[in-house]
Symmetry: D2
Subunit: 162 residues, 4 copies
């Protein structure tokens, strides 16, 4: 089964700049993560942008949407910063049809030892293979409807909005 993996940045892909003590983006780590996971999937990987999701604008979301809708692949995973992941999920849910789109990310950068990224990526790729068309957020081992999910900023957990 073919999957498309769209990279937009987010904490997932942040690195520590040892000269400035700041976090920054260089390249995505998804290939390295897939290798670590011994993933044997037919994946089409594309880096759309490398940004903090707080900087994600509707213009960026439009690019994500267009990349999801491009022909050739019905099942898409989007790596995304957690802060505005629910907003992007809703944006896509309102506009995308004929696709299974799963957004995922991480609370801690992959390059730091304690990252949830590999767990989340494993889950997102699984959900994307078997869920019916729709937009979803895969975090905390769970899968949320992209239209009704929020990030609880106090706990860092994602929750269903009823």
């Amino acid at each position: 089964m073919k999957l498309r993996l769209l990279v937009t940045g987010g904490t997932f892909d942040k690195e520590y700049d040892e000269l400035t003590g700041r976090l920054f983006f260089k390249d995505t780590h998804v290939r390295e993560m897939l290798k670590l996971g011994r993933a044997d999937l037919d994946l089409e990987i594309r880096t759309l942008m490398m940004i903090d999701s707080l900087e994600m604008r509707d213009l960026d979301r439009e690019l994500v949407l267009k990349s999801c809708l491009e022909p050739g692949c019905e099942r898409v995973v989007v790596t995304h910063g957690t802060d505005t992941m629910p907003e992007t999920a809703r944006y896509l849910a309102d506009r995308a049809t004929g696709r299974t789109i799963v957004l995922t990310g991480a609370m801690v950068p992959y390059t730091f030892g304690s990252s949830d990224g590999l767990f989340n990526l494993g889950g997102a790729l699984a959900f994307a293979q078997v869920l019916p068309h729709g937009v979803y957020v895969a975090m905390n081992g769970r899968c949320f409807d992209g239209r009704s999910v929020r990030k609880n900023r106090g706990t860092g957990r994602f929750e269903a909005v009823s």
Copy 2:
């Protein structure tokens, strides 16, 4: 959604004994892995045994089966050594009904830096939540029918048997 997580050992949970240079079992690492994954699932975790899957006998498989079938939970993930994972999957597939059972494991122990365990666990928990009743093997980012999967010992990859 409630999930049952049955631990049987396997490479997943092996540790390095620095006094003897051998691998051995102590406790399972699944709780630690779930914490790392910030998993927010209603999980019932039970350690059935801590063995190398080459030592898995039908008596052990019977215990796995019985634990899968115990009332209270329809969706089960079983951590298992990779060497005989296909055999156990077939054993369960021939006997279990009314359950979604997903077997998973790792090629490299979780405590070693380069483990695929966290990726596999993320995938297995996802597949277990959404797949219809049946027995599956979740490895390499993929999900195989438990009746027709084998481990290719040359590559370490799992493959569908046609």
Copy 3:
């Protein structure tokens, strides 16, 4: 041989706050690091402060000095942020006598996979055991005279000042 280990914070001990995306201090990791190093030393460990070395004032340096000079132990390792490590080294070199004092730190927090902290700590403890009285900076596998060392902010390396 008895050694005193004074903790002042620095990048060494920073952690990533997954809720805010900022680095912060909680507890020191030196005990964990010593355990990882299977260190079998007679160590007296004291946390004096947990601060970024850019915030280190002469009042703080005075406390470090007093703690170095307290009776009971001639050999001292001080963990310190790298930015003002040379300033503190000079401050101590101008005031301390009868002690071997070795400052060390890290460019990357210990909790991030890619830290130089364990290597530096191993070196600092070694230098502190064998060098004659004086103040030293142990970074990059080297040992610098505390009166003539600077951090090259462009490369992140420490250099001898002639």
Copy 4:
């Protein structure tokens, strides 16, 4: 200051073969470790052999000795398996003059998360830079006289023999 780094294998450099579940040797990790430590030393690195120290014969020790004595560098670090490190240290102590030779190793392979290797390497390089001519074993943060040290197989710690 110039240092020679002689690699002989040992647990330090062992890797996990995910196909067989056995430990094996591929390449040494010392360069990677030195990079992680941001080591800025004038090092001449040579891999003499890649063996378990239980397989170390006097013929091998002769090669280590000859490599230590080659002109061009007075200060040498030898990475070595821990099991027969004391034997090799004594062998060298009986034969080498005009050199500072420090043997070090690890209880856990570097590629496993919990290795003491980086700590030990940092210490060994420090001791090698400042100790007078002689043969030493640097383990557990300590430095032992190469003529009177043993590994306690019960605890995995090195001890001075009186």
